[in-house]
């Protein structure tokens, strides 16, 4: 397995010569073999053991083991420690070995993938791991890139190729890579075989978007950039083949360089547990010291005189030294207060919980066939303590699917679902969707519910026609037609895709484009428009336009954009129409739809000539190009005629509003951090019910400077405080509140507020001097939306809350831009959706729908927390009850570190007698059924407030344990002091005492676990009764004659069990001890339940009472939306695509071939078009032309 080379010294720069393996070999670059596994068969044992002993706990127990080997100290047999230690080490080792086995398997799978490598002029199939730096490999469409390659040439013109980088950065849109011109001509293997260029470039690093290097070839230098690189992990798309030169391989690739060590996350319970364990160590040392002092005094006072019967050990000459030795002896005996099995048990329980998450049918998404996955098994109980959720928007709250849902054309609104009589239909009684079968090019997935729009088209309403014509022309979508009629649109943003698809279905089919033309099938008629200009979209303009010349020769500008911008630019004659349209826009926005306004303008030929001349000059201007272009655009987009407006539904994920409502009820604060625009984000905020119109106020912070932001935040706080002041009349308000006071004031705020903050304001708000201010304001609000935030800011916001709020944070997202936030938050959840896997890889939990979050938190998280807390409480209790008996006994045995119990009992107590019942409780316990935790989200609160296991609870458990240990020792002591057996013999011998105490201990802790177990499944029954049975079985076996005969010195308790347990006095003692230990607990718990029941107790009780009644179904109240005046403009678009289209660089010839599959892609597009027209006319009678004929009628 050791095929992968070991690490070398870091390189300064990398030199790679193509086709020269010998030359490259002298640099000893890493091969393309990856190794994520840690061990092989030989190294496994030593390496794994070494790693395990780096754990403090394991080392500690090893230390104890060594102590036990010293005869003067040894108070226990060596096996009492070594058996649990070996058990723990074995379990961990088996788990590590299994993990590593799977890593080996997946390594092998990847390493053995096939790849075509050019070796001495011939393409050969090679395994990935045999690819070397400097090799030239051939990639085909849809193949994974095997290593980081320098793109040499491709099947596409200009050496372009398309890649999908979803694996790498999570972005699903395609990216273009281009070979440098000199190499792009090396199209076939013979030319490539002769290629001997040398690349000198930067050493391996993890920067995905940067590459710097130089190609030296034929005495020329060519600079190389990231544009020329294909990185491992990408997939080649839409490109038949390409050749690349391997620059970085295997571990040096950017993909591998990016997969650094995972930051190990710990839960707050973990941290608390570690603190407590330290405290217990302190306690242990204290007890050791007390007993050691006791020993020294005893040896000095009594032991010295008792030497006639019991001389001191060899080498012990003073009471002081004896005390010192007894300190260590007691450390050995009392070490069971921190049992070695604690950490393993916790891991086992968490693993169980993780499996329950993986197995949950209700978190399985049938559509994507993905179950939920707990990728980290160590954080489960923290899911029950979440206070802040940071959510991404796109792909998380929304599906990132845009649906054309409504439109307003010439003052008429279309898109409402109507019933037979033409009234607005209520939800739920949807009629059949509009039938688009007349249109052979229609997208079958598109659905529209209002037939009147189609009728308007069929009736030939010129406004509607113009409306859809605009939609089919004014965009930057690329089309691809794989076979006749099978159109695929490649839109840069989903909104645009939705609009063009809508136009397509309504008979205005955008068919293809060239740099200078757009071909549209208008109601069956192919019309080619001449594309004169694309006035591209950008954030300031918030609109885009195209200028086209129709076949008739008219020049027209089509524009679509934000209502706020566009409505101002309309011709005054539109006033009435504008009013109606504005009403419609408000209505749409109120429904949470994203709106765009459409307008057109006819241009005079002469004006356009003059304008385009100026445009040409401006675009070639050396400086201030942008400004001059913007000015020109601005000039032409004026006095436009309003066509109407579109409304696109940004489809929410299923169940998002309900989930958010429930989570809010559970006192979880949800912050949305999105890269989207403010309007979009606010819109989504409304549609998923984070923001409501009932809110007192929504503060919007958009300041550009520090002062503005500070001022806005201050105003927001003042408003909130004013409101709360007016409510509490007599509240004396101090002008200068300290920041801590401020928090308390803000926390008591009445009314619901929300905060919307912009990315640039956030940048200021996150600065050191303002972050606290920001945080206080934000935390006082019910909902917080941060828009236009960078991935880094997402992480910063999470960090901020983590730092000041001491609350558990959860980040949920689906894209690469969420990775930083997911890694920063206490818990990261990845939505395994469309946007690649980066987020999922970084996450701790993953599932495919946002709505599963409520189940993850309210059901799994809550249960995990509850179970873990109950487990820990009981665990500490039982060990204190067990161990402290030794402490009391110390006072009666001369502090000699004599154990109360049989050594086998000490060995087995934690790993056999008491481990399984508590494990079963920790894995299976439920207080209320899962439906209830959804019904009563308040049940989630104890976790957030950390009520079930904290220092106080810990001390209660410890106190209970100590109380139990006192009774456990002193009741038998009282009974045994004078008692004799019923046959007159002595009862109070050491062995009988040991058996009595041990038996009552096992019974008491079993009864206690019975009390603690709230959910007795068959497994719990089996484990609890089984443990008791096992105790007695082992007890009798250990005390049997047979074992004694074999090992008389090991099994000294021979005959003890039957002799002791036959005594009525012993059983009376056990019964008494049990009752006295349990009775106060029951009384206390009953009182707590009766007087101050927790919500879960009440729910449980109610359930018991109403078992026969039908459970009342609580439905989330669906508030009818009241329209508010908000603009719903949104367009998730980036600048620059228009230019790319106009330049024709990204035009693939094959996509121009409309329906004819010309064998020669070099055919000119006009020729193709001509052919197309010919074929079209020749196929008269095809459905499309038939349809168009009927339409014309």
């Amino acid at each position: 397995m050791e095929r992968c080379a070991a690490r070398r010294a870091p390189e300064e720069e990398r030199r790679v010569r193509a086709n020269a393996r010998e030359y490259n070999e002298k640099f000893q670059y890493a091969s393309n073999c990856i190794k994520t596994s840690k061990y092989n068969i030989i190294t496994f044992l030593p390496v794994n053991l070494f790693e395990q002993f780096q754990e403090v706990a394991n080392t500690y127990f090893l230390f104890l083991l060594i102590l036990q080997l010293i005869p003067q100290i040894s108070s226990l047999s060596w096996f009492t420690t070594i058996v649990p230690l070996v058990l723990v080490l074995t379990i961990t080792a088996v788990k590590d070995a299994t993990d590593d086995y799977f890593r080996h398997k997946s390594d092998n799978q990847v390493n053995n993938r096939q790849s075509q490598v050019l070796i001495s002029g011939v393409l050969r199939q090679e395994q990935w791991m045999n690819v070397r730096v400097g090799d030239i490999i051939k990639l085909e469409n849809n193949q994974f890139v095997a290593a980081d390659l320098l793109l040499l040439s491709s099947s596409e013109p200009h050496g372009l190729c398309y890649i999908e980088t979803a694996e790498l950065d999570g972005e699903t849109n395609m990216k273009v890579r281009q070979a440098i011109p000199v190499t792009s001509e090396l199209g076939d293997t013979s030319k490539l075989a002769g290629f001997d260029g040398e690349v000198i470039c930067e050493p391996p690093n993890n920067k995905l978007d940067k590459f710097g290097g130089t190609l030296y070839w034929k005495e020329n230098k060519y600079p190389l950039s990231n544009q020329n690189m294909l990185l491992r992990g990408c997939v080649l798309r839409n490109t038949e083949w390409c050749f690349g030169l391997v620059i970085f391989a295997g571990p040096d690739t950017k993909l591998m360089q990016n997969s650094g060590r995972t930051k190990f996350k710990r839960t707050s319970i973990d941290r608390l547990m570690n603190t407590l364990v330290l405290w217990i160590f302190g306690f242990l040392v204290c007890m050791g010291v007390i007993l050691a002092i006791g020993n020294a005094i005893w040896e000095h006072e009594v032991g010295v005189c008792f030497q006639i019967y019991l001389p001191w050990d060899e080498g012990v000459h003073s009471a002081f030294f004896s005390g010192f030795l007894s300190f260590w002896s007691y450390i050995i005996i009392l070490n069971t207060v921190v049992p070695i099995s604690l950490y393993v048990s916790v891991e086992v329980i968490r693993l169980g919980h993780s499996y329950f998450i993986n197995w949950d049918k209700k978190m399985y998404c049938a559509k994507r066939r993905t179950p939920a996955e707990a990728r980290t098994t160590t954080l489960n109980e923290e899911l029950g303590q979440v206070e802040y959720i940071f959510s991404d928007k796109t792909g998380t709250l929304t599906q990132n699917i845009m649906v054309f849902s409504k439109c307003s054309v010439n003052g008429h609104s279309y898109g409402d679902v109507q019933d037979m009589l033409g009234h607005k239909a209520e939800l739920g009684e949807r009629p059949e969707p509009v039938d688009f079968s007349f249109n052979p090019l229609a997208d079958p997935r598109f659905q529209f519910w209002d037939p009147s729009l189609l009728e308007a088209i069929k009736l030939g309403d010129p406004h509607v026609h113009e409306f859809f014509r605009l939609l089919s022309l004014c965009h930057t979508v690329m089309s691809e037609e794989k076979s006749e009629g099978e159109l695929y649109y490649k839109a840069q943003s989903p909104d645009e895709g939705a609009l063009v698809t809508a136009a397509r279905n309504f008979g205005f089919v955008f068919r293809s484009r060239t740099p200078k033309t757009i071909t549209v099938h208008e109601l069956g008629r192919a019309i080619t428009y001449q594309l004169l200009a694309i006035l591209d979209f950008n954030n300031i303009r918030k609109r885009m336009s195209v200028i086209v010349r129709s076949p008739e020769g008219k020049i027209r500008l089509y524009c679509k954009g934000a209502d706020t911008i566009l409505l101002e630019r309309l011709h005054p004659v539109n006033q009435d129409l504008t009013n109606v349209t504005t009403d419609h826009l408000n209505e749409y926005a109120g429904e949470g739809l994203r709106t765009l306004v459409l307008a057109y303008k006819d241009l005079e030929e002469s004006y356009y000539e003059e304008w385009s001349e100026r445009l040409r000059r401006a675009s070639s201007a050396p400086e201030a190009r942008e400004d001059r272009l913007a000015q020109l655009y601005d000039e032409v987009e004026h006095d436009m005629m309003l066509l109407g407006a579109t409304a696109i539904e940004d489809k929410l994920q299923q169940g998002v509003p309900e989930t958010i409502a429930i989570l809010t009820l559970a006192n979880i604060k949800i912050w949305v951090l999105t890269g989207d625009k403010q309007e979009t984000a606010v819109n989504i905020g409304y549609s998923c019910k984070m923001l409501t119109d009932d809110m007192t106020e929504v503060f919007v912070v958009t300041g550009h400077t520090v002062l503005e932001v500070r001022e806005e935040l201050r105003k927001a706080r003042e408003k909130m405080m004013d409101a709360s002041r007016s409510i509490s009349n007599g509240f004396s308000y101090q002008e200068k509140l300290s920041s801590s006071k401020l928090t308390s004031v803000l926390e008591a705020i009445a009314g619901e507020y929300a905060l919307v903050i912009n990315g640039h304001s956030l940048a200021h708000a996150l600065e050191a001097d303002m972050e606290v201010e920001f945080l206080e304001t934000a935390c006082a609000c019910k909902a917080v939306i941060c828009c236009r935030v960078t991935p880094l800011q997402k992480a910063q916001v999470v960090e901020l809350v983590k730092k000041y709020k001491k609350a558990v944070t959860l980040a949920i997202g689906d894209g690469a831009n969420d990775v930083s936030m997911i890694k920063t938050a206490h818990i990261g959840v990845g939505i395994s959706g469309q946007e690649g896997i980066q987020a999922v890889l970084a996450s701790d939990y993953s599932f495919s729908q946002f709505k599963f979050l409520q189940r993850l938190l309210l059901v799994h998280g809550r249960w995990s927390y509850l179970r873990m807390c109950k487990f820990l409480c009981y665990f500490f209790y039982k060990n204190f009850a067990f161990t402290m008996v030794h402490f009391w006994f110390g006072f009666f045995c001369g502090f000699s570190a004599q154990t109360v119990y049989d050594q086998y009992f000490i060995t087995l107590y934690n790993i056999v007698y008491t481990s399984l019942p508590v494990l079963a409780m920790g894995v299976f316990d439920q207080d209320v059924p899962e439906q209830r935790s959804m019904e009563y989200p308040k049940l989630y609160e104890p976790g957030q407030l950390n009520l079930l296991f904290n220092k106080r609870e810990f001390f209660i458990c410890i106190a209970q344990g100590i109380y139990t240990s006192v009774l456990m020792f002193f009741i038998p002591y009282g009974v045994f002091a004078d008692a004799t057996r019923d046959d007159g013999a002595q009862l109070a011998d050491y062995q009988s005492f040991a058996v009595t105490v041990a038996t009552s201990l096992v019974i008491v802790v079993s009864v206690q676990i019975g009390l603690d177990t709230g959910f007795w499944t068959a497994i719990n029954h089996f484990f609890i009764w089984g443990s008791l049975a096992t105790y007695f079985a082992i007890l009798f076996a250990m005390h049997s004659d047979g074992l004694f005969q074999m090992f008389p010195n090991q099994f000294r308790f021979v005959g003890n069990a039957q002799n002791t347990l036959a005594q009525p006095t012993v059983w009376l003692t056990i019964a008494l001890t049990t009752v006295v230990c349990i009775m106060p607990v029951v009384a206390f718990r009953f009182l707590k339940l009766d007087l101050k029941p927790e919500l879960s107790d009440t729910v449980r009780y109610t359930q018991l009472v109403r078992k026969k009644q039908k459970t009342q179904h609580r439905c989330m109240r669906r508030a009818g939306r009241v329209g508010s005046r908000r603009s719903g403009y949104a367009f998730s678009h980036q600048e620059g695509f228009g230019e790319l289209i106009m330049s024709g660089k990204n035009m693939r010839l094959s996509s121009l071939a409309l329906s004819s599959f010309s064998a020669r892609p070099s055919a000119g597009w006009i020729e193709t078009l001509r052919k197309k027209k010919g074929s079209d006319s020749s196929t008269a009678g095809s459905p499309s032309s038939a349809a168009s004929k009927t339409l014309k009628v």
Partner: protein, 369 residues
């Protein structure tokens, strides 16, 4: 090195591999979780909760069970006759005062006689105990200082005792049998009881067999085996414990009570749990049904005082006791039962009052949401 990169995921394309139906690899295996009660956490379960209907009756029932048991134990315990004499001899007036500083091997042994009077007669079988105080038989170094293998008659251990026996493992290069501090410190006072009837001392028969556990006598302790039954021969090559006046094979004249299976020795070897303890010494059997075993009257206890306890402030006692079904006199258990029973009952009453006055349960219908 924990690497968050997983080659498997690269290989599968997507971690949620189902994203592409019929995708590469053609993994037909469904990823849908099984719909089993176990995996969906829907196992049928009993969910007990503490309600007034269960807790309060439990307290009353425990109270009602414990109080009578306690009374029963208390009465039984009070009916037991017990008489105790401290014969350590620390008080100058004590007849045993002269023996206070005896050593192990004083010959002839120091003897003393203590006269006492039983006010009540002992009706049933009487058990005679010796009691020691401040004697740490439960000390760790003491407890471990024995070789059970040797005591079980293992011949190799007989000649080569366990290291645990140090420093009583060997004496003058000869292995000690029985080795160890426990055996070495064996109680060796001899107690004899006489009834004084009109100045005539009638010895009372003290039975020395049947005082050890059956398993100890028959399983745990065995004499070494070999040719013949001559214990002297069997113990050949060993030496007596340092403090013992006689070797182990001369503990008793009867062969079935000699050597390691001497019952006094066995009783001693069963170490006590607490520093104050009593061990069964002799049995006094009831002769016939007409006479009590020990009539009320005068008795004298003859002590061969060999066992020094004064140096470590130890005390020695002789106890005469009858027993019942639950053993000897044990006031603690009875009182404890009565107390606990009463507390339970009382708690039940208190809880009942609290429940009726302040009980919150009835308002549980409206759960805050």
């Amino acid at each position: 090195m924990a690497v968050n990169y997983s080659a498997k995921e690269e290989a599968d394309g997507h971690p949620a591999g189902g994203a592409m139906p019929g995708g590469a690899g053609g993994a037909v295996k469904t990823r849908k979780p099984d719909n089993t009660a176990f995996k969906q956490q829907r196992l049928p379960a009993w969910q007990p909760i503490l309600t007034a209907g269960t807790v309060l009756p439990a307290f009353f029932i425990i109270g009602l069970i414990f109080i009578p048991i306690g009374i029963g134990i208390f009465v039984t315990s009070n009916n037991i006759r017990e008489y105790e004499i401290d014969y350590t001899g620390t008080e100058p007036s004590s007849p045993c005062n002269k023996c206070l500083n005896v050593s192990w091997d004083s010959t002839p042994p120091c003897t003393c006689t203590i006269n006492f009077t039983l006010e009540h007669s002992f009706e049933s079988n009487v058990f005679m105990y010796y009691g020691l105080s401040n004697f740490y038989q439960n000390h760790r170094r003491y407890v471990k200082s024995r070789d059970d293998s040797q005591l079980n008659g293992d011949n190799s251990s007989l000649l080569n005792p366990s290291k645990e026996c140090e420093p009583y493992r060997t004496n003058e290069d000869k292995p000690i049998a029985p080795c160890g501090a426990i055996a070495n410190s064996m109680f060796n006072d001899t107690l004899e009881l006489y009834r004084i009837d009109n100045d005539t001392r009638t010895p009372i028969t003290l039975i020395k067999k049947g005082i050890a556990w059956w398993t100890d006598k028959n399983v745990k302790f065995r004499n070494p085996t070999g040719d013949g039954n001559n214990l002297t021969a069997l113990f050949q090559g060993t030496t007596k414990p340092v403090n013992w006046p006689k070797p182990v094979y001369m503990l008793d004249s009867e062969p079935d009570n000699n050597g390691f299976i001497n019952e006094d020795f066995i009783v001693w070897m069963r170490t006590a749990a607490l520093p104050t303890f009593r061990k069964l010494y002799r049995l006094i059997e009831r002769k016939n049904n007409l006479q009590p075993t020990l009539q009320a009257g005068k008795y004298s206890l003859d002590i061969a005082y060999n066992y020094p306890v004064h140096s470590f402030d130890g005390r020695k006692r002789m106890i005469l006791s009858t027993i019942s079904w639950m053993g000897g006199k044990n006031p603690f258990l009875g009182i404890a039962y009565i107390t606990v029973g009463s507390i339970c009952f009382f708690l039940g009453v208190v809880l009942l009052i609290i429940h009726h006055k302040y009980g919150n349960r009835n308002t549980s219908a409206d759960i805050p949401n």
